[in-house]
Structure formats: C-alpha cells, structure tokens
C-alpha cells in the first residue's frame, strides 16, 4: 500500500481549489490518511466557518469507511440499517463531498473532504482532487 505524501496532498488540494475558483465558491478542502488523521487542510477566503469541521469530518468518514460519505447517508436515514450512525466516531458527515483516495490496487490510502458550496458543488471539487 502506497501512502499519501504531503506533496501529493498539496497537488490534490490545488486541483480542488482551481475547480472551486471556476465555480466561484469559497471551499474548505481536507485530506486525511488511511487512518483518518489530518494530512492537509486549506480554507479559501470567506468560506463559512461552520464548513471547516464539515470538510474534515467528510474526509474522515470516507477514509474510515472506505466509501463516499454520501454512501453512508443512504443507509443512515430513518428506518435505514445505519440510522444515526453520524453520532459515532466523534461525528461523521453522511452527505456528499467526502471521497476515498485509492491506490492502483484499489486500496483506500486516504480521503478528501470538501465543504463550502452546495453538495453537488462540494462533490465536483472533491472529484477534482482525485485526478
């Protein structure tokens, strides 16, 4: 398993910020390692302060469960199999904007979490961080 490097995280963040600038939205971009520990974080000027924690929690959610944060949300609804799972692990975020980062073998080596725009905008920026 290849570990994420800081250099790689910076490159991913810059790709995400470029996409956010195209959308003209101030975004937070968080990158965590496979263990969910913060590797890099960047808040664009004028982003809402409440979205700092959300970006980090989206990344942690995607890393700790090795799937997009939105996939958790499908199962955490009322009546669903993971109802209210958001209150575990010090707080998860189960809507879109958190995506796992995988190596060539498909193993999760970290995750990116983006917050600051609408959920579709957040997802678009997160996807830009994966390429």
């Amino acid at each position: 398993m290849t570990a994420l490097t800081l250099q790689n995280a910076i490159a991913r963040t810059e790709a995400g910020r470029a996409r956010a600038a195209e959308l003209a939205v101030a975004m937070n971009i968080a990158i965590v390692d496979a263990g969910g520990h913060l590797l890099h974080f960047s808040r664009m000027d004028d982003a809402e302060l409440g979205t700092v924690d959300i970006a980090i929690k989206k990344a942690r959610t995607a890393a700790l469960f090795r799937r997009p944060s939105a996939a958790i949300g499908e199962d955490s609804q009322p009546g669903g199999p993971l109802y209210n799972i958001e209150s575990t692990n010090g707080g998860l975020v189960s809507f879109g904007g958190g995506l796992p980062i995988t190596d060539e073998g498909g193993r999760t080596i970290g995750a990116v979490g983006v917050s600051g725009g609408t959920v579709p905008q957040d997802v678009t920026v997160a996807e830009a961080c994966l390429t």
Copy 2:
C-alpha cells in the same frame, strides 16, 4: 466589518426580553460574535433548563453558517442534502430561533439565538433582537 459591542448586545437582549414578556414566555437569549464565541447570555426566570444550550447553539449555528438556523433545518431533514449536519461543529440546532446579525454592508457580524417558547415564539423574540 464592524464588531458587535457588549453595549449593543445588551440593547438587543433587552429588546428581546421585552418581546418575550409580551408573549408571557420565559426565554433564553444568547448573542455570539462572528466567530461563534459567546458575547452575552441571559435566562429569564423559570425558563426550562434544557433550553439554555439550545439558545447558545442556535446563535452559533446562525453565525457559523451566516443564515437563520431554520434554513439549515430545511436541508437537514431525512433525505435532504444536509441530513444530520447537526452532529458537526460540536452540535448545531437547525430549527427556528437563530438569526444572523449583519452590518450595513450585509456582512454577518454575529448572531442571536433564542429558546424557551414554541419555535414561532422563539423566532419572534429573535427578530425583536435584530431591530
């Protein structure tokens, strides 16, 4: 951006308490700065103890997201785009009673949070704190 002063927060709180007295409901009124830090808090006699934290969290929610707390609630319902966002930022409150305080340029310089009555009553008192 003008910062909220204590004197201004006291005046807003007194306006809110006067409105609460008209409604004959014991209210908590919290005022935070733009960063969500508590500036002033006041609990009217006989208010329910559980509403202290709610008033403070409503104010923090409105400040950190620069919008009424109820606007968060519209999107945080089951199936909504921000489902269970309430578990972030140390706990948010997404029903009515939290309103941002803006300066002449429309920038959020703080927020008020009110709790103790029905939600419509809380909103009415919060609005009285804005004038």
Copy 3:
C-alpha cells in the same frame, strides 16, 4: 432556599463590570444557578476569547462544589487528594475567580465566575459581584 433571579444576576454583573472598569481590564462575568446551569453571561469588549469558557467553568466549579474555585485548586495539585479533578464534570477550573453565591442561611444558590485579568483581579471582580 431562595433562587437567584435574572434581575439579581444582572445587578451582580453590573457591580462586577463597574469594578472591572476601575481596574481597566476587560472581563467575562458568568453567573450560574445552584445546579451549575448558566443564568447570565457578559463579555466586555476586547476580552480574550479563551477566557469565555474559563469564566463559565469557574462559576460551574464553585456552584457544583459549593466553594471558591481556588479551594479546589488547593487539593488538586500533584500528590494532593483531588489530583487532576479538573478533568471531571466536563472540565473544571481550580484557580481563583469562581465564588459561590449564598442565601441568608448560608446555602449555595448559585455562583459567579470571572476571567479576563490576572487571577487576583478576577477574584476582586468576583467579590464585587457578591455584594
């Protein structure tokens, strides 16, 4: 047991703020009831943000243990009988600035917590809130 009223808490807070103004120090003044629940809080302009939580925790400490916060600190030192008690109850503060408020029969009906200056200044302002 007489309960603290909001009116009484405001009067105590104003007495404290007058004393703080004499000292020319920006203070936070928190008043809690006998159960440690926040009743009134006020932050003077330019007080350090980190002292908000300290003022509230001093008041809670004094109310929950019915003694000055500094009295806890005497026993919480290394080797002392209450070593590191500060990590209980969601966080206590064991240095000066928290004082119980008692009724005529000597029963604790609440507490005041002050933070923002040196500890002796905080204690002086807290004492002004008791008279």
Copy 4:
C-alpha cells in the same frame, strides 16, 4: 484589523516547512484565524500522528489568549496561578510552539502552531512562520 488570507497562510507554512527541512524534522504546521478557527494545516511526511492535534491546539491557544502558548505554561504549573488551565476551551497546549500572528498595529489576527520535533525545534519553526 486585517484578516489573514489563505495566500498569506500558505506562504507562512512554506517558510516553516523550509526551516523544518533544515532541521531535518517532520513537522505539523497549523494556522488559525483570530477566532481560533482552522485556516491551513500541513503535516510533513512521517510526522508522528499524535502531533497533529497538538499543532492545532497550540495555534488555538495562542490565538485565544493572544500570547505564545509557552507563556500559558509558565503559569499553569503545579502551584501556579493558572494550574491545569489546559482542560478549558476544549483542550489547550501550554508548551512552546504556538505563536500569535499580529498585524502592524500589534493586534492578534491569528496564530501558528507547530509540533513534531523537540519543543525548541517547534518554536524555531513557528518563528520562521512569522517572518
């Protein structure tokens, strides 16, 4: 009061990382705004995972008290006037490595927190972030 920009935070972080590279130590560098909210974070490859939280808390401590984190530590020792203050504000760090960032008028506009080496190394890197 001028606010810190992301561009400024990145420049400070790069200056700090350059100094850390000279010392051949893997460091975490956190930068927060005046309200203690995270603005930028970067973990160098191979830094100890436990130092992520320490770097962030050092920065928050310096911002919320507008002084070097080590200045808190002078007073928080056993028998000192601020003994165990570290348990407030969601956790403070009171040893060296957190430094306030001030504007031309001397007002605190944010802070930097560094962790990963010895405390003197952390302080050296934090100082490099101020220039």
